[in-house]
């Protein structure tokens, strides 16, 4: 979807303002937001792709005004309701009012180290051979799906070179919507700055994306 998250090349957000010696968290609720987001992710009820799509669906004005942990919490509230774990009334009341869905697992303190150390690998074996080889010229498709995609707007309909075949991975665009993992080959595709930004582009710039095979067509 062409949501507020797709920020590459937008203007007007002002200076980056890095903070010297930035602390890991700026308020205690940020600690809890990290913890509760990861703990609920461990239910196994939704995928990282569905999480990302829930964040992208925050209305643009709210998304752009929110800190990233606020974005996480807003999306988590949606996911918890969508999957039947809590109701809007419970979130509003701040207390349990009824029994909800039961998760496949509840993350306990003892499980944390192992779960974080394992992570969530999303490479998957694929019997087809890659359609594109290193060095191939490819064009990204010009598509505007209303659903989840990891092909940013600035890189649609652009011609670049396959620099690496990175392996086969869960296809985010399908997995975000419960349509299955449907793995595809992923390629690093590199574009010259002027191909993307046109007149006035920094001539020393090149930009790469990691593109699933179905984002690409041969040139």
């Amino acid at each position: 979807m062409n949501g507020p998250h797709d920020l590459g090349g937008q203007m007007g957000f002002g200076p980056i303002a890095p903070e010297a010696d930035e602390p890991w968290f700026h308020a205690d609720w940020e600690r809890r937001a990290l913890g509760v987001t990861l703990a609920c992710g461990a239910f196994g009820a939704w995928t990282i792709d569905e999480s990302r799509h829930a964040r992208e669906n925050i209305p643009p004005a709210a998304y752009l005004a929110a800190s990233y942990y606020e974005i996480w919490i807003r999306a988590l509230e949606v996911l918890l309701q969508r999957h039947g774990f809590v109701t809007a009334d419970e979130i509003a009341a701040g207390k349990s009012l009824s029994a909800g869905a039961a998760p496949k697992r509840v993350l306990t303190a003892e499980m944390v180290a192992g779960v974080l150390a394992r992570g969530g690998p999303c490479d998957r074996p694929l019997s087809q051979v890659p359609r594109f080889a290193v060095g191939a010229r490819v064009r990204t498709r010009n598509v505007n799906p209303t659903t989840h995609t990891r092909l940013p707007r600035y890189a649609r309909g652009k011609t670049g070179i396959v620099e690496a075949v990175q392996g086969s991975f869960v296809f985010a665009d399908d997995n975000a919507h419960g349509r299955g993992e449907n793995p595809q080959w992923v390629y690093t595709v590199v574009f010259d700055g002027p191909e993307i930004w046109g007149e006035g582009s920094d001539p020393t710039l090149s930009v790469s994306i990691d593109a699933w095979e179905s984002y690409l067509e041969p040139v």
């Binding site: 957000f13 890095p18 990861l38």
Partner: protein, 207 residues
């Protein structure tokens, strides 16, 4: 009006979020869906165990050991795992090496993808719209805000982390560090130098 926090939008917003997150945590705890001790363990992991010291060790090893650098360039996930760094948001690592010809810069324009296993949690600016919007179109302007001015002829390569690969920049080893131990070299490797918004510290600035 002293003491009236509602005069201060920032404070007000933060207290709103404090209440919102506390309410959610309370509901989930009452329903047996979360273990507050697990939340504590998650936070402790990212406040004390996982951070850019991990990545600095990887870079210092690469600077010191050509065979390791070669392994890192071919199979970063395995090379990094050999130093004990694995797991969440580091499952599929790639290392990209700065050279005299090319400077590398990493961004996630679509969300906040970042190599947690080697750098820890991302700083606020990495997740915020200003950096995510500008890194791909005006990287030299971005670098200037970090105090980095590259030679005009140097090529800039921006890596937009749009899939599940996570990128670690290996900065160039500073001159004047021949014979330094890995531990001393690691002290020159900043978080920003491994994102590409900085360079390694010069030896005369080492603590």
């Amino acid at each position: 009006m002293s003491g009236d926090h509602h005069d201060h939008h920032h404070d007000n917003h933060y207290s709103d979020m404090q209440a919102r997150v506390r309410a959610l945590e309370t509901v989930l705890t009452e329903k047996g869906l979360i273990d507050p001790g697990a939340l504590d363990a998650i936070v402790e992991t990212y406040e004390t165990k996982v951070g850019p010291r991990n990545g600095a060790r990887v870079v210092a090893r690469a600077w010191s050991d050509a065979a390791f650098a070669d392994w890192l360039s071919r199979d970063a996930t395995a090379a990094i795992a050999s130093l004990g760094y694995t797991g969440r948001q580091g499952e599929h690592m790639r290392a990209v090496f700065n050279t005299n010809a090319t400077h590398n810069l990493v961004v996630c324009t679509l969300c906040s993808c970042y190599p947690w296993s080697v750098l820890g949690l991302p700083p606020v600016w990495y997740k915020a719209p200003a950096y995510r919007s500008r890194a791909v179109i005006d990287p030299r302007g971005v670098l200037r805000e970090f105090g980095v001015t590259l030679p005009e002829e140097k090529r800039i390569r921006v890596w937009d982390s749009t899939a599940e690969l996570r990128y670690l920049v290996v900065p160039q080893r500073p001159a004047g560090t021949d014979g330094w131990s890995e531990a001393d070299l690691a002290g020159l490797v900043t978080r920003d130098s491994m994102i590409g918004t900085g360079l390694a510290r010069l030896p005369e600035t080492a603590a």
